[in-house]
């Protein structure tokens, strides 16, 4: 059990990194609280697996330090760090029984047999593997195998953090949900620090208390699922999280007032005109956009019924604006006007939130 501190961490796979493009992980400083459930979320190649491997010790950072509590573990091996990891493809020891698989990490550490037996049975029961401890591990289904990989982390009492590298990739869709709830339940029960890497927002948002969103080797936002939804710190977060993603539209500043194509738009807070001169955009989620009798004139392009909502796509000139219309609410056709909820309308400069 430990608090994890990432101190000005940077990593490159090249021997002599030059430009920004050479860094697989750009500089980041972050604290992960003891016992927290974290998710690293981002598209493929965003650097989340690199970060995971840096924390687990499979990679050594080019620059920066990693602390577990107050101990510097930057140069320590995975074994010395006392971490556990569940990989994308289940890793099990084929020739061993489920029991021996779970006992393996303890036996390697010379734990007394009685203690091993107790721990293995405990964890076996926790993961609903109790009735198949004597079976050969190679005969299990993918989700059973993934449980074993997780179990090998849980049996150890000294584990500082358990990491998950897209653990549900090879699990059947209907079992994903079961395994995910199991994981959440386990976290509540044992309160170990867990870090979950995924590109699937549902997995990240349902599992984690804190989500670290990454893009292009950079951390773009750290926050609770609600933060990410209501106050995306970057247009990328707005796009990536939510379905459909946030509407991002060009805008301009006229004094303290925000203008979209000549229309004034009310936003949350005020924007300082002096803070640089990058490209300005405004962002508002479809959930906070509604039809009204006045506002921005749009053409309705199409509507898709997804059950409790309809996703409506409209167009103002060449700009696409999407709305969520709850079931049962009337919907105009052809020409209409839309309005943004001022409390959830944000302004971004060069992608970053400014208001």
């Amino acid at each position: 059990m430990a608090k994890i501190t990432l101190d000005r961490l940077r990593h490159s796979y090249m021997p002599n990194p030059q430009g920004a493009e050479d860094w697989a992980l750009k500089e980041m400083t972050q604290e992960l609280e003891d016992g927290g459930a974290y998710a690293l979320l981002g598209p493929s190649g965003c650097g989340k697996t690199t970060l995971l491997n840096l924390i687990s010790g499979l990679l050594r950072p080019t620059v920066g330090r990693i602390l577990f509590d107050d101990a510097d573990v930057t140069g320590a091996t995975p074994e010395q760090r006392n971490i556990a990891q569940v990989f994308q493809f289940p890793v099990i020891y084929d020739t061993m029984t489920v029991y021996d698989n779970l006992a393996f990490p303890l036996r390697n550490r010379g734990v007394p047999a009685a203690e091993i037996d107790k721990r293995v049975r405990e964890v076996g029961a926790m993961l609903d593997l109790g009735h198949m401890l004597k079976k050969r591990a190679s005969g299990l289904t993918a989700d059973g195998k993934q449980k074993i990989s997780l179990g090998r982390g849980l049996v150890r009492s000294d584990v500082n953090v358990i990491m998950f590298d897209e653990p549900l990739t090879v699990i059947d869709p209907h079992l994903k949900w079961v395994l995910r709830s199991k994981l959440k339940e386990l976290h509540h029960r044992i309160r170990r620090t867990m870090i979950y890497v995924t590109h699937d927002q549902t997995e990240a948002l349902t599992f984690a208390d804190q989500v670290v969103v990454m893009n292009n080797g950079e951390v773009v936002q750290v926050g609770t699922p609600v933060d990410l939804f209501e106050r995306p710190a970057h247009t990328f977060v707005g796009h990536f999280i939510g379905s459909p993603g946030m509407n991002v539209l060009p805008c301009s500043l006229d004094g303290g007032r925000v203008d979209f194509m000549g229309q004034p738009v009310e936003t949350l807070g005020t924007v300082q005109a002096s803070s640089g001169n990058g490209k300005l955009e405004l962002g508002v989620r479809p959930e906070f956009t509604r039809f009204d009798s006045i506002g921005i004139p749009v053409e309705i392009v199409k509507a898709a019924d997804v059950g409790r909502f309809r996703i409506v796509e409209t167009r103002h000139r060449e700009h696409r604006i999407r709305l969520l219309v709850p079931e049962g609410q009337p919907m105009p056709s052809g020409h209409a006007y839309v309005r943004f909820d001022p409390k959830h309308t944000h302004v971004y400069r060069d992608g970053w939130l400014v208001n």
């Binding site: 995975p78 990989f87 890793v91 020891y93 084929d94 020739t95 061993m96 393996f104 990490p105 390697n108």
Partner: protein, 287 residues
């Protein structure tokens, strides 16, 4: 993969069947034919029943050759399989040296078998060969043309030289197909190098090792050319293995009857032992 039932597929396999049948069945019938007849020349044959089979099975010449053959195969399997495995484990997994290793190691496999024999003949010659001279100057009384023991040593060493690479290449291919995650998981679980070998590498190599052992068994049981060129089966009959004995009998002395009977017994032994090996080694998987 689900396969569709289609009897027309026979048209696709027909050329193979025709070709192999021409090459396998006609000669095999000839052999069977010879094995049950007696001839005094001039293409006059008499029915001999199973006499030839009895004669071969009771001849000490066949027993000796079979015993030598089994001993030889056992020795080379015991050397080549572990050695091949060790070399494959120690080989680099990436970088420029991989190509160098693969190409140089595969080289012996592509040298004509009589050249292998000739090469080792020259290499081991007691007075002018590098190995012969080297061993003698180290104080060993080495002369493979005179002493059965050194002849065996040379033949075994030649086979190790010739065929260990096959085991290496098979094991290497098996090793590189193990995902990196397994090694990382083992690191995290605190496994020792021995545990990694015992619980990850060895189980994953089981299939290729089965194939390697089977191939080495079959091919060493049929060894002919290399040994004939190197020692001619000598000194005396000390390195006369089954194939060498058979060819001596069939093409050297034209004892067609006994040679044919021996051929069939020989073929059956290989089939039987291969089947046995295969069943034993794959039994665990079925369970």
């Amino acid at each position: 993969m689900y396969k569709q039932l289609n009897q027309k597929a026979w048209f696709l396999v027909a050329p193979v069947v025709a070709l192999v049948a021409f090459n396998a069945i006609i000669p095999l019938m000839t052999v069977v034919n010879f094995s049950v007849q007696e001839t005094f020349g001039d293409n006059v044959f008499f029915w001999a029943g199973v006499d030839w089979f009895e004669q071969v099975l009771h001849s000490s010449r066949f027993h000796d050759a079979l015993l030598r053959q089994i001993l030889f195969t056992a020795i080379i399997l015991l050397i080549e399989v572990p050695l091949g495995l060790i070399v494959a484990l120690a080989m680099p997994r990436k970088g420029p040296w991989v190509s160098v290793c693969l190409v140089t190691m595969a080289l012996p496999l592509l040298i004509p078998w009589n050249v292998v024999g000739a090469m080792w003949n020259i290499f081991a010659l007691p007075e002018i060969g590098l190995m012969g001279k080297g061993l003698r100057s180290l104080g060993f009384d080495f002369n493979y043309t005179r002493q059965p023991l050194t002849a065996w040593f040379t033949v075994v060493l030649m086979d190790v030289w010739h065929w260990t690479s096959l085991v290496v290449l098979l094991c290497y291919a098996g090793l590189v197909s193990i995902p990196n995650d397994y090694y990382q998981a083992a690191k995290i679980d605190g496994a020792s190098a021995w545990s990694v070998f015992r619980y990850i590498q060895l189980p994953k190599l089981k299939r290729v090792l089965t194939i390697a052992i089977l191939l080495r068994f079959m091919d060493s049981f049929m060894i002919y050319t290399e040994v004939v060129v190197l020692t001619g089966g000598g000194p005396g009959n000390s390195t006369t293995f089954l194939s060498i004995d058979l060819v001596k009998m069939a093409l050297g002395q034209f004892d067609l009857g006994p040679a044919a009977a021996m051929s069939l017994i020989y073929f059956l032994i290989i089939l039987l032992l291969s089947w046995l090996f295969y069943t034993v080694m794959t039994r665990n998987e079925a369970r």
